[in-house]
C-alpha cells in the first residue's frame, strides 16, 4: 500500500479565515473563547468561540453562490474553497469528498428557520457541498460523535488504500446552537468559565465553532511544508457506557495500542500528543488512565480546547491540522487554561509554548457512544 498524506488545509475560526491566523494566535497563546450573551442560544452567558457573521458573509459572497446556503454550509464552502484552490486539483472521478459533522444543519429545526426541515438531513448537506464544487462522487458523511473529525481522516486513508480514490477532501464543521448548548447544559457539563483541560480546578467544557478542511492524498507531488504521512490509526469502542467514558480508558487505550502497532512505532517514538481534553472531570481522567496504560505519561501533551472550545465534529480534524503545523514549526503549543494537574495519573501537560525538534505526533479523540479514535502522523521525510 502506498503512503497516504495530509496536505493543503484551511481553518475557518474565530481567529480568521485561514490556518495561518489560527496558528499565529495559538503561538501567542491568545484564547479564541469569549463570553457571549445570546439568549437565542442559551439563557445564561456562555464561553464560546464563534466565527464572525459579517466577515463570514463577505467571504461567502466572494464565492458567487447561485443559491441560498445555511450558515454551516457557508462555513464549509468558504473553508473548502480555499483548500481546493490552494491544491490546484482538478475535481474528477478519482477525487472524493468526506464530510465530518455531528449535527449538520440542526438549526433548521428551530422555529423561524429560513430553511425547510429537509435541510437537516445530512445527505442534503452533502449534496449542497458536492454540487457547489462539482464533485463527481456523492459526499460520504460521517457522523460518529466527537471522534468524527479524526475518524474522517482515517476513513479517507482507507478509501484511498482500497483504490476508490486518489485524493479525498475532508471537511468538518458543526454549529454552536441552542440544540447543542441546551443538551450539554442538561448534562451539567458546560463551564461558565474558559475551559481548563486536565486542570485541578476544571469546571467543564465550552462549545466552539470552526470549519476545517484538508486534502488527503496518495500523490507525493501534492504536498505542502506541513504535510504529514498517516502511519497508523484505529478506532475502538469502550463497550461500557453510552454517555460516560470508561473508567479504565479501555477503548482509548486499545485504539492507541492498535495505532502504534500499525504505525510500527513505540510509545517513546511519539514526540507529542494532541489529546481530546474536553475539561470535563470524567473525560480528562479517563484519558490520563489510558495514556498511562500505553506508557505515554511522559510524552508532551496538550488539549486545544482552551483556544477554540470543543468544536464537536470538526475538533479532531482541526486539531490534526494544528498538529501538522506544530511539527512543521517544531513547536509544542501550550495547553491553554492549565494550571495544576487534576487527574489521578501523571501526564506531561505542555505549560508554555516551547521550541523542540518533533517529528511524530499522536492525535486522539473520544466521544458519546463510547467511541475513541487514535491516529499517528509523521513529518514527510525527503
Amino acid at each position: 500500500m502506498s503512503k497516504v498524506y495530509l496536505s493543503y488545509n484551511n481553518i475557518v475560526s474565530s481567529y480568521g479565515f485561514d490556518t495561518a491566523s489560527a496558528i499565529q494566535n495559538i503561538s501567542n497563546e491568545v484564547p479564541g473563547l469569549q463570553l457571549i450573551d445570546d439568549k437565542n442560544v442559551l439563557p445564561n452567558p456562555f464561553y464560546s468561540s464563534r466565527i464572525p457573521q459579517d466577515k463570514l458573509e463577505g467571504k461567502y459572497q466572494e464565492l458567487h453562490p447561485k443559491e441560498k446556503h445555511t450558515r454551516l454550509e457557508k462555513m464549509l464552502l468558504v473553508s473548502l474553497a480555499e483548500t481546493i484552490k490552494q491544491s490546484g486539483l482538478k475535481i474528477n472521478q478519482r477525487v472524493g469528498l468526506i464530510i465530518s459533522t455531528t449535527k449538520g444543519n440542526i438549526d433548521v429545526l428551530e422555529n423561524g428557520s429560513d430553511f425547510p426541515e429537509e435541510r437537516a438531513y445530512l445527505a442534503s448537506l452533502g449534496e449542497k457541498i458536492k454540487s457547489f464544487f462539482g464533485f463527481q462522487n456523492d459526499a460520504i458523511v460521517l457522523s460518529n460523535a466527537c471522534v468524527s473529525g479524526v475518524l474522517a481522516v482515517t476513513v479517507a486513508k482507507r478509501f484511498i488504500n482500497q483504490n476508490t480514490f486518489d485524493h479525498v477532501f475532508v471537511i468538518g464543521g458543526d454549529l454552536v446552537t441552542e440544540f447543542i448548548l441546551s443538551g450539554f447544559n442538561a448534562f451539567q457539563a458546560l463551564s461558565n468559565e474558559p475551559c481548563r483541560p486536565y486542570c485541578k480546578t476544571r469546571t467543564g467544557i465550552n462549545i466552539g465553532e470552526v470549519a476545517a478542511s484538508v486534502l488527503v492524498t496518495r500523490d507525493s507531488t501534492k504536498l505542502v511544508d506541513e504535510s504529514v504521512v498517516i502511519l497508523g490509526e484505529a478506532s475502538c469502542n469502550d463497550a461500557n457506557h453510552i454517555s460516560g467514558p470508561s473508567r479504565t480508558g479501555e477503548g482509548l487505550h486499545r485504539s492507541v495500542e492498535s495505532a502504534l502497532k500499525q504505525a510500527k512505532v513505540n510509545p517513546e517514538d511519539i514526540d507529542y500528543i494532541s489529546a481530546h481534553g474536553t475539561a470535563t472531570n470524567f473525560n480528562d481522567e479517563m484519558e490520563a488512565i489510558a495514556f498511562n496504560r500505553s506508557g505515554l505519561q511522559n510524552t508532551p501533551l496538550n488539549s486545544l480546547k482552551g483556544y477554540f472550545g470543543h468544536t464537536l465534529g470538526a475538533s479532531g480534524l482541526l486539531e490534526t491540522i494544528i498538529g501538522m503545523h506544530s511539527l512543521n514549526q517544531n513547536t509544542l503549543f501550550a495547553s491553554l487554561g492549565f494550571q495544576e494537574l487534576g487527574v489521578s495519573a501523571p501526564l506531561h501537560i505542555i505549560e508554555t509554548t516551547t521550541r523542540k525538534e518533533i517529528s511524530t505526533f499522536l492525535k486522539t479523540a473520544s466521544g458519546f457512544g463510547g467511541c475513541n479514535t487514535a491516529a499517528i502522523f509523521q513529518k514527510v521525510s525527503e
Partner: protein, 194 residues
C-alpha cells in the same frame, strides 16, 4: 487487496416482520414500531433491561444486531452502520423539549452512533465503529469500508448495514461479513440481499 470475503448471515426488520437469512422469525400487525419491536424483544426472549431506555433507532439496530450476534463467538467485529435520517427522530424530540426541560436521557441519543455503543456494550465488542449517512442504501461504500477493515486486519468480521428510523417509519438490513460464508461479499450480492 484480498477481497475474497463472504456474507455469513443477514437480518431484515421492515413491515412488521423480522427475518434472519430470508426466513421470518416473527411478524405481527402491531400499529406502531414501539409495539412491534417490544413484541419482537419478547418473542426472541432477550433479557436486557437497558433496551427499554433506548430510542427507536437504537432499538432497531440493537435487535437486528442481536439476531446476528447471539451465537457469534468472534469478538473483533467492526461495526459499520449507515442510514438517511441519522438521529433526526430523537433530534426533533430534543428540539421540542428545549423550551421546557431538556433531558440528558434524550439528548444522548441525538447522535446516530449511539446505537453502535449499545451494540458494543451488549456484546462486549471493543472494536472499530463508524456511522455513515447517505441519501439511500449505499452498498458500494459499505463494501469498500468492510473490505478495508478486513484487509488491514482491524477486524476479523464486520457487522454492516442500514438502519433507518424516521417519523415512525423504519428499515433495517444488517449483515455480517466474514472470511467464510454462504454468499459472496460483492456489491451486487449486497444489493440483491437488501
Amino acid at each position: 487487496m484480498k477481497n475474497d470475503y463472504h456474507i455469513q448471515s443477514y437480518c431484515h426488520i421492515r413491515n412488521n416482520d423480522i427475518s434472519l437469512n430470508g426466513n421470518s422469525l416473527y411478524k405481527d400487525d402491531a400499529d406502531s414500531f414501539s409495539e412491534f419491536i417490544k413484541a419482537v424483544y419478547k418473542h426472541l426472549k432477550i433479557d436486557y433491561s437497558k433496551f427499554f431506555k433506548m430510542d427507536s433507532l437504537s432499538k432497531l439496530a440493537f435487535i437486528a444486531a442481536d439476531t446476528l450476534l447471539v451465537e457469534e463467538t468472534e469478538k473483533n467485529i467492526g461495526l459499520v452502520l449507515s442510514n438517511k435520517a441519522a438521529s433526526l427522530d430523537t433530534d426533533r424530540k430534543h428540539q421540542e423539549s428545549i423550551k421546557d426541560y431538556p433531558s440528558p436521557a434524550v439528548f444522548v441519543y441525538t447522535l446516530p452512533n449511539i446505537c453502535l455503543g449499545e451494540i458494543s456494550i451488549k456484546h462486549q465488542l471493543y472494536s472499530e465503529n463508524s456511522f455513515f449517512v447517505f441519501d439511500s442504501f449505499n452498498a458500494e461504500a459499505l463494501h469498500t469500508y468492510a473490505n478495508s477493515l478486513l484487509d488491514e486486519e482491524k477486524s476479523e468480521k464486520v457487522l454492516c448495514g442500514w438502519v433507518n428510523f424516521d417519523d415512525g417509519k423504519y428499515d433495517a438490513f444488517l449483515y455480517v461479513v466474514a472470511k467464510k460464508g454462504t454468499f459472496v461479499h460483492s456489491i451486487a450480492e449486497i444489493n440483491r440481499l437488501y
